[in-house]
């Protein structure tokens, strides 16, 4: 059970006491009559061969309040697509699978390209964006929830708590991000603990208070991949297709909506999914790639807010970050000690050194090309450029699922 302290400019919804899943699902079923909910699942075929997906399907088959489930399947052949359809069959209700490598969906991507709309490279960002397009085209749902497909300890309570704030018309939230502790026998979530929070706070200490930095710092787990939002938001928000997806999406939420309508919710006591390797020597892989993309996304957002960056600023930032991150390691060491968790201080320090190098690399890239934005255009712009695109997308997905 967590405390009830409210941090930052957004609302935090804690897990207090032992909330009943039956009650929350009952209410969601009631809300879904006026605010139908769609669930978007970006997945790779390889995830269907792992341990997480069977549990997710089992849990989702018990959920009654979902209006539709849209699974975007990446890196799958036609045969594998059919296998996934069979795999998802136990879930009652409307389940659609977008076959990213299918003939029809590939033609949809080609339509974007020839009309000058860059939708980036394949990945979670692009998959999620296409799924939003399908939900918009279907026009049945007012709320979209999204979570990853590699959650080993998935329970439908996560989904219920994630959807509740946006689906409940009395609360009037348009965006809700999940948070949780990523703890097993040790603390995980290195990028959030040792990069994002120290970096944001270093930027605040160097550049002074800034609304965006305050906004990002308000999230307990800004890199969490689980969120719910209104379908209207999916129309107006642009989505990054690289590893800056989570931070970039938050930047778009910050840009388009008041923080009063944004919340975060405690969705699970613990959360376990696949872990990325650090790959400190290769900036094109693993956590290093993720780190560089996240830093670039933050720098770009701040630049668009009028912050002026210089070489001197970035040099000071590296030093400030390093100091703050080292202090943070000490805090987590104490936290681990009192909870009896394993803590490898050397590994943590090595991660911080790698992240410092990544910040320098991101700064260099940003200074060379501050305009290089990997954002996928929002659906309003896409439908303006290609008026019939939503009909085409709907037809492609419906035919694939026939």
């Amino acid at each position: 059970m967590s405390d009830f302290y409210q941090t930052g400019v957004i609302t935090t919804l804690h897990r207090l006491g032992k909330p009943s899943l039956e009650r929350i699902e009952g209410e969601l079923l009631h809300f879904s009559r006026t605010r139908p909910v769609a669930l978007v699942l970006p997945a790779l075929y390889s995830e269907f061969e792992g341990p997480a997906m069977p549990k997710i399907v089992e849990e989702l088959s018990k959920v009654k309040y979902l209006c539709e489930i849209v699974l975007v399947l990446d890196k799958a052949s036609d045969k594998e697509f059919q296998k996934v359809r069979e795999f998802m069959a136990p879930i009652p209700g409307d389940v659609k699978i977008i076959h990213n490598d299918g003939r029809r969906v590939m033609e949809i991507y080609d339509t974007f390209k020839r009309n000058g709309l860059s939708v980036g490279e394949r990945g979670k960002g692009r998959s999620a964006w296409l799924a939003y397009g399908y939900v918009i085209a279907n026009g049945k749902c007012d709320v979209i929830a999204l979570h990853d497909c590699d959650i080993v300890n998935y329970s439908r309570e996560m989904l219920a708590r994630l959807c509740y704030p946006v689906a409940n018309p009395n609360l009037d939230y348009v965006f809700c991000k999940g948070f949780y502790s990523r703890v097993t026998n040790k603390m995980h979530g290195r990028v959030t603990r040792l990069l994002v929070t120290p970096l944001i706070r270093s930027l605040q200490s160097l550049g002074g208070e800034h609304r965006f930095l305050k906004f990002i710092d308000s999230f307990r787990y800004p890199l969490a991949g689980e969120f719910a939002m209104s379908t209207d938001m999916a129309r107006v928000n642009r989505i990054p297709w690289d590893w800056g997806l989570e931070v970039g999406s938050l930047a778009e939420v910050y840009r388009n909506y008041s923080p009063r309508r944004i919340c975060q919710v405690d969705i699970a006591d613990t959360y376990e999914h696949k872990h990325q390797v650090l790959s400190s020597e290769d900036p094109e892989k693993g956590l290093m790639k993720m780190t560089i993309d996240i830093c670039k996304s933050i720098f770009r957002t701040l630049a668009s807010e009028g912050i002026v960056f210089s070489d001197g600023f970035f040099k000071s930032l590296s030093v400030a970050y390093l100091r703050l991150a080292e202090d943070t390691i000490m805090k987590y060491e104490a936290d681990a000690a009192i909870n009896g968790l394993e803590f490898d201080r050397h590994e943590e320090a090595k991660a911080v050194e790698s992240f410092a190098r990544a910040i320098a690399m991101a700064a260099e890239t940003f200074m060379k090309n501050p305009m290089g934005t990997p954002l996928i255009p929002n659906w309003n712009r896409v439908t303006s450029a290609i008026p019939g695109i939503l009909d085409m997308l709907k037809k492609a997905v419906d035919e694939d699922n026939r």
């Binding site: 080609d110 450029a385 019939g388 009909d391 037809k395 492609a396």
Partner: protein
């Protein structure tokens, strides 16, 4: 002598066949030349057309004009330019085959070829009706939608879709009638479907609008009678 007659009897059919072949061979050669030339020409046209349509960004234009959506709704997923190229190519191939067949100078084939060429304008006009009709239906449906939305009608989208559906039924009937595909059945089916939709709408709006219509008539009558009073006073 008997042997001579017998040989003549045996060889005569061969001679006749050979003479027939001699008469037919130039026609056959002409047909093959036409076919080969036509196929080469069709391939050249296909390559040139493909390049021209790519240069003109025909696919993107089709996307914006709604032709791509029309294709996708029919579950056709080739690129619009490629579809046009294929249609033109196969049209030229069929055209070449027809001309080639006519070079054979066989009566039955000639009749078939003549019928084909007579039917061609009908196919072209049916295609034209479909294309123009589809664009017009989209335009009118959108106009209705915007007008109704601006006037605050709740069922603007449904009505706009109804207009589009009616127009598409009309266009399809016109195209089929043009192609002379069971024209009597088409006209009857169209009359039944179109009439049915119109009657359904008339009943729906009529029955639902009795009160509104009564109010409008009563209001009009009241205004009229008030107007009469004014004149009398004057």
């Amino acid at each position: 002598m008997i042997m001579q007659d017998f040989l003549t009897l045996v060889l005569e059919p061969f001679r006749e066949v050979f003479a027939g072949f001699k008469r037919f061979a130039p026609n056959m050669l002409a047909m093959l030349t036409i076919l080969i030339g036509g196929l080469v020409f069709a391939r050249i046209v296909r390559a040139l057309l493909r390049k021209a349509l790519t240069a003109l960004s025909f696919d993107a234009w089709s996307d914006r004009m709604g032709f791509t959506v029309m294709m996708r709704k029919g579950d056709l997923w080739t690129k619009p330019a490629e579809a046009v190229v294929r249609v033109v190519f196969w049209f030229l191939v069929i055209f070449t085959i027809m001309i080639g067949l006519s070079a054979l100078k066989v009566h039955a084939v000639n009749t078939l070829v003549a019928q084909f060429f007579l039917y061609l304008p009908r196919v072209l006009s049916a295609v034209l009706i479909l294309v123009i009709g589809y664009v017009a239906a989209g335009f009118l449906s959108r106009t209705v939608l915007i007008a109704l939305v601006n006037n605050g009608y709740h069922y603007a989208k449904v009505l706009a879709e109804a207009v589009r559906l009616l127009l598409i039924v009309l266009i399809l009937a016109m195209a089929l009638e043009q192609l002379q595909v069971a024209p009597n059945i088409v006209v009857a089916a169209f009359s039944i479907i179109f009439g049915g939709i119109v009657i359904a709408l008339a009943i729906a709006f009529g029955a639902g609008g009795i009160e509104a219509a009564r109010r409008i008539i009563e209001k009009g009558a009241a205004e009229k009678s008030e107007g009469k009073d004014d004149i009398q006073h004057l």
